[in-house]
Amino acid sequence: MTTTIRKIARYGVRDLVRSRWLLGYAGFFAAATWALLRFSDSETKALLSLVNVVLFVVPLANLVFGAMYLYGAREFVELLLAQPLRRRELFAGLYLGLTVPVSLAATVGIAAPLLFQGVSAATLRTGALLGLIAAVLSAVFTGVATVIAYRIEDRVRGLATALGVWLLLAVVYDGIALLAAVQFADYPLERPMLALMLANPIDLARLVLMLHFDVAALLGYTGAVFERFVGGTAGLIVAAIALSTWVAAPALMGARLFRRKDF
């Protein structure tokens, strides 16, 4: 990482850590974690519920907030582009300046109540994994937000697209998977289902967490298939590689769009 990237990212972080929105976002996770721990029968149940909250909220918040932030920064980016910097470095700085604080906000929000409530070591381990997944998903979806913001000129259309992407991946996708499973029930479905799951970062994240909880069968057809197909550690590694790809690909695509864009 060049010093230019670090400098740009540092001011991005400074801007966002003072943002009330981000404070509220971290506060939301802290409150949700605390409440679930407090009012669930067991710590495992609390964390399972928290998984669903994270998988629902993190993609939505990062897509919408990320796109709004990037559209709002448009004029400032023009000013930065007029400075003696390379576009590649400027993009990397802007991306990190956005991704690092939003990832940390979710992670810290989840971690703080777990640490303060003095939960068991096993719960702490699961919580750590959940925090990590929240951070990874944040990076994935701020990356997708850069693609949207630098691809679609119009702010309103961009925000609508961000919402559309979220609806597709978080809601419609599982429905389609289920429909396909029912329609083609007579065929061997393991491979297509596997492909379908690797193609959706939210499903992937759910899978990693479920494999950890050892309750994959409870969570949809794709999870059950994957556990039987790969199982345990091997599945975890495959999923981790796929998730890393999901972090890198949108960010690289965003960088490419940014490099060629007319501001």
């Binding site: 001011y11 400074r14 801007d15 943002s19 400032f76 582009l81 007029a82 390379r86 007319d262 501001f263």
Partner: protein, 237 residues
């Protein structure tokens, strides 16, 4: 010196720049004027590297501009719209730019004082009024004592006093040998500040050269009337 040759840029169906040839002479103030959507901002953004032209070349001080953008260390830019990160303060903003520009030579803080910004610098930029943000924008463009300054509507949104302060600053820095490229819709202001004029209509240069040449050719007394005359008669080249 900035030399622009055969610059073309198309956005979809719209040919914004349609073969612009222009030389911007050092130590002078060049005003880029033209009707709305004539391509003024696109022309400036092309020189800064914000917009990639479809064809044509741009030389700054004899070197073709490139993505590394080292030439931009000699340029100060004041964009038309001043929007900054909400939660940074003015002081943060200046510090950030100083960080990015590196430990350069002199820092010009004249405008910070002359525009009364000193007391505003510790506030988040989000709470500043549009006019105050525009003042920050102006002070920032001059801060690094660049040899070339691109000011896009520098006095728009400023009160008369601040506007005069900025105009005085432009005149003083021009006399100190700096090059200016500015756009404005206020012709009297350009008449006061500019030496040369680049008159852009529908993506082409209709006239470029000293203002008094344009006035002489069109036999008009004011810049505004000279430009109206050119537009009406299709004269000059």
């Amino acid at each position: 010196m900035i030399e622009i040759q055969g610059l073309r840029k198309r956005y979809g169906a719209l040919q914004v720049l349609d073969g612009v040839d222009l030389v911007i002479h050092p130590g002078r103030v060049t005003a880029v004027v033209g009707p709305n959507a004539a391509g003024k901002t696109t022309l400036i953004k092309s020189v800064l590297g914000l917009t990639r032209p479809d064809s044509g070349t741009i030389y700054v001080d004899g070197k073709m501009i490139d993505d590394a953008g080292e030439y931009r260390a000699r340029i100060g830019y004041m964009p038309q719209i001043a929007r900054f990160p909400d939660n940074l303060t003015g002081a943060d903003l200046f510090a950030m730019m100083r960080d990015l520009r590196g430990a350069g030579a002199s820092r010009d803080e004249d405008l910070i004082d002359a525009l009364g910004l000193r007391s505003q610098l510790h506030k988040p930029l989000r709470v500043l009024s549009g006019g105050t943000r525009q003042k920050v924008n102006a002070a920032l463009a001059f801060h690094f004592s660049p040899s070339m300054l691109f000011l896009d509507e520098p006095t728009a949104g400023l009160d008369p006093i601040s506007s005069s302060v900025v105009k005085d600053k432009i005149a003083a820095e021009r006399n100190a040998g700096r090059t200016f490229v500015l756009t404005s819709h206020v012709m009297s202001e350009l008449e006061e500040l500019a030496d040369d004029i680049a008159f852009l209509v529908e993506g082409r240069i209709r006239f470029s050269g000293p203002i008094h040449d344009l006035k002489k050719e069109t036999r008009q007394l004011s810049l505004e009337r000279a430009i109206a005359y050119v537009l009406e008669t299709g004269a000059a080249a």
